[in-house]
Amino acid sequence: MSTPLVQLDQVRFGYGDHDILSDLSLTVQRGQVVAIMGGSGSGKTTLLRLIGGQLRARAGRVLVDGADVGGMNETALYDMRRKLGMLFQFGALFTDLSVFDNVAFPLRERAKLPESIIRDLVLMKLHAVGLRGAANLMPFELSGGMARRVALARAIALDPMLMLYDEPFTGLDPISLATIGQLIRELNDALGAASIVVTHDVAESLSLVDYVYFMADGKVIAQGTPDEVRASDHPFVKQFINGEPDGPLPFHKPAAPYAQELGLEIVRA
């Protein structure tokens, strides 16, 4: 078996004093589409930034295509990112460029192509996300779902070897959702690439992906193929798939007791 495209090995990371990720290990092989699921604030976006080298792990190793991202200097890091495409959670379109120029941006910056070929490529990518008709609009003229689809077109513009999608399905209607899901799969298979999809959309992703990781408390707490996940009796997985409010996954971020914070309860020393 060839080296995995992405491998995280006991990664620890935190922004402030306490760790968001404490002991995270996962593997993504070439050709795989892998879903990462976990509660809000469990560190999924953080995980993608670690893979992209925007954050550095405090301990453990992040390997992309066999190379340790944490040990890279700036030049090596930018070379590694040439293999990446990332869809940001909030799109992050360039607001001073039109939709067309946004999608053309990576092509113009990184590939020395004649303008006529760039034009064709951009229109192809926009067509794939169903927004060829929006090519001349500015980002502020787009709806939230449209902006995310443009961002998706921009992320796949250079046919990257590794795609990172941060919640590609939020804000999409059911029709676009199915189409985008299919696009992610087809793109991955056509390029022989690997994709990591961070998502909350259980139904869509289970029909789409090859493997699922569940994250909680800074660790992978459950994993498996979609069939294994459906059959799982792991309490966390069951709660997540069925969307039950009570279970091992708390809805609330840890805080002082509610009644006490509202001043309804006398605190006894």
Partner: protein, 264 residues
């Protein structure tokens, strides 16, 4: 009690260490900026775009302010010179004040508030909207693609704007001195030409404006890049650009003028 004591005294030093840390960060930022500067010249179109936004769009305010300042200089100068029977030297007074001092300094102050603040706000908002982050992930370095062209656009624009300020000011002085107060135009121009020295007056003014251009542009791009990614963060950074620029311009002016002082 003891903890409070320690907290109080370490709190005293905090503004100082905070400023020192920021200064260190700014220095590293400047070095990285220089390292990524070649792109701003290889793809000079990027820099030209910034010269347009920072420089060309500042022309109007610079020209009008220069004209007004020149007119006021002529009015005030005439009032003084005429008491010594030296009103024919008005041209010299106006030209020297502008070329050596007011062109570079007032020009830079206006440039900081017109263009510097805009640069800071733009970069800060790009950062807040994760646009710089997205660029990094596309393997496009924002330092080379966004920061360096804006910096060099400002550095190139500043001396040109200062020169324009001085020219418009001299024209304003001419309007007031010759057209309004009735001085002899031949005298006005020939005295000016005879006295203003290219090496010591004009060049020194240009050197000042180059220094101011570097200072204002660096402050503007740094504050934008360093801004907390929130609306308050960006608004605070914009204010800091204008305030810090003004202080740095005036402080640098004292130092540069002292170096250029010949004492004759």
């Amino acid at each position: 009690m003891r903890e409070r004591f320690i907290a109080f005294f370490s709190g005293l030093g905090h503004p100082f260490t905070g400023a020192l840390i920021k200064l260190g960060f700014a220095t590293r930022f400047f070095l990285a900026l220089l390292r990524h500067s070649p792109m701003a010249f290889i793809r000079f179109r990027l820099t030209i775009r910034e010269i347009w936004f920072a420089g060309v769009l500042s022309v109007l305010i610079i020209a009008v302010s220069g004209l007004f300042i020149g007119m006021v200089l002529a009015l005030q100068g005439y009032d003084t010179l005429v008491r010594f029977g030296a009103s024919s030297s008005l041209g010299i007074l106006v030209a020297l004040s502008l070329v050596r001092e007011l062109g570079p300094v007032v020009g830079a102050l206006l440039f900081a508030s017109r263009a510097g603040s805009a640069i800071t706000a733009e970069i800060g908002l790009m950062k807040a909207a994760e646009q710089l982050s997205a660029m990094e992930m596309m393997a496009v370095n924002p330092m080379a693609r966004v920061i360096a062209p804006r910096f060099w656009g400002g550095v190139i624009s500043m001396p040109l704007l200062a020169a324009m300020f001085s020219v418009m000011g001299i024209f304003g002085g001419y309007l007031v001195g010759v057209q309004l107060l009735g001085l002899d135009p031949g005298n006005f121009w020939s005295q000016m030409q005879g006295t203003v020295d290219l090496r010591f007056d004009v060049m020194n003014g240009v050197i000042k404006s180059v220094f101011f251009g570097i200072a204002v542009s660096l402050i503007a791009v740094f504050e934008g890049f360093d801004a907390p990614p929130t609306p308050e963060g960006v608004s605070g950074a914009t204010t800091r650009t204008v305030v810090t620029s003004a202080l740095v311009i005036l402080g640098l002016d004292v130092i540069l003028t002292a170096f250029m002082f010949r004492g004759i």
